[in-house]
Symmetry: C2
Subunit: 252 residues, 2 copies
């Protein structure tokens, strides 16, 4: 898609438990849809292990390639929570105690034996600012263009909500779709020709098989609604020319 004014993002999902298969990721789809709605395009996602060198390398690479990097996971009080230290290393700054987070950790009455561990969560890279977590538990933070969030989905969502309206944004990508019950090869040539005429709109063809029928969902994504509508008409015509019926707005 040719969009010089696009605002882009990369997700870094930090966690051995995702890579081992123990825990299915439950954050990526929500992040993609939320950012999309704000006019920020998710352009890449990586699932990486709880290994310092891997996290530092991925943050260092991705923060230069994308407008924003969103990380999930690794910000709790245990030994395997190393995200804050890795972000500090990636930026070449020390970890410092955030008085704001430290105060939140000390505030609720709690058993003293865990306080030292919980105070680990107050350590953030020098220069980072708080990303509020109203659910309690670990607080997120933002370091330059890197936004560090929890891995637990309910906490991640709460943190993300607080960022609404706080980030740079570009055009919101709109979509149109149409479904046809045919093998996509029958319309492949026509679709390719249409894509050639609309380089600013991404035309995806997603085959499916269910309820005993083969079909394809054609999805168009772009910022210009007028061109989207014209492209949709052309795609429908290709389906009609193949002798089938276009079902606008239906996707499978």
């Amino acid at each position: 898609m040719q969009m010089s004014d696009a605002v882009t993002a990369c997700a870094l999902i930090i966690g051995n438990e995702i890579l081992s298969g123990r825990t299915p990721d439950a954050n990526l789809n929500h992040l993609a849809l939320t950012l999309g709605g704000w006019g920020i395009q998710l352009r890449e996602a990586r699932v990486i292990p709880d290994v310092e060198a891997e996290i530092v390398a991925a943050v260092s690479t991705c923060r230069r390639r994308f407008n924003y990097v969103f990380t999930t996971g690794g910000i709790g009080p245990t030994h395997d929570d190393i995200t804050a230290a890795c972000i500090a290393k990636a930026f070449g700054v020390p970890l410092v105690v955030s008085p704001e987070i430290a105060e939140r950790i000390r505030r609720p009455p709690s058993p003293p034996e865990g306080l030292e561990a919980r105070m680990r969560m107050a350590q953030i890279p020098e220069g980072a600012v708080l990303v509020d977590n109203a659910t309690g538990g670990p607080q997120g933070f933002r370091m330059d263009n890197v936004i560090v969030m929890a891995g637990i989905p309910v906490v991640m969502r709460a943190m993300l909500t607080t960022l609404e309206g706080q980030l740079d944004s570009g055009p919101v990508i709109q979509s149109r779709s149409v479904t046809a019950y045919l093998g996509e090869s029958r319309i492949a040539k026509g679709l390719g020709e249409i894509q050639g005429r609309y380089p600013d709109i991404d035309l995806g063809s997603y085959p499916f098989f269910h309820d005993g029928r083969y079909g394809a969902s054609l999805v168009m994504r772009g910022a210009d609604v007028g061109r989207l509508e014209r492209m949709l008409d052309e795609v429908c015509q290709v389906i009609i020319d193949a002798g089938e019926k276009p079902h606008r707005g239906e996707t499978s």
Copy 2:
């Protein structure tokens, strides 16, 4: 984890529809669990767009860093199916027609207007070998250490099944787990000390909140069952020392 004999893998999930949020990924978890059971450790996963330069760069990087690269998506007959061409480019070889795949495409009776598009699916990188797809539809292929599969989950799973016993493998990683209903900060110090004594075993602490209770699942992963069992005993003792009850084998 220190395992010089580990066999490693990276997943490349190719598809704009995952990044836009239209389609939640449904392959990664299955791939992680299946490969893990075969003694192949998934060490990284990337979701990348249907963009040639991105796919070529990711394949070129990852095939050198990991024993295997598994790709999903982009092997159908339409203009947005560019994976085979990208793999060829990453390896510096031409696309050639696979007589084996071409024969499968020509075999079933089907409308002539889609044949040209379907024959696109017979083009694979020179030197690649077939990865069988018994469900019909696109065939997968393997080029050196890169295994190219469909994005549709049922097709991807069928292709993966045919690889069982065909790939190099290392030790199968075993896991032990125990759940305790306490804030993980209360046992963080003890867990960190245990992890220090077992550098070959990965100890993860995964906090949760459900049914009105806070808790943490402690998961140990490693190849040496004897050491896993001893580590599990030590983790249970830390929970008991904190005044709580360890629930072995339960995770949340």
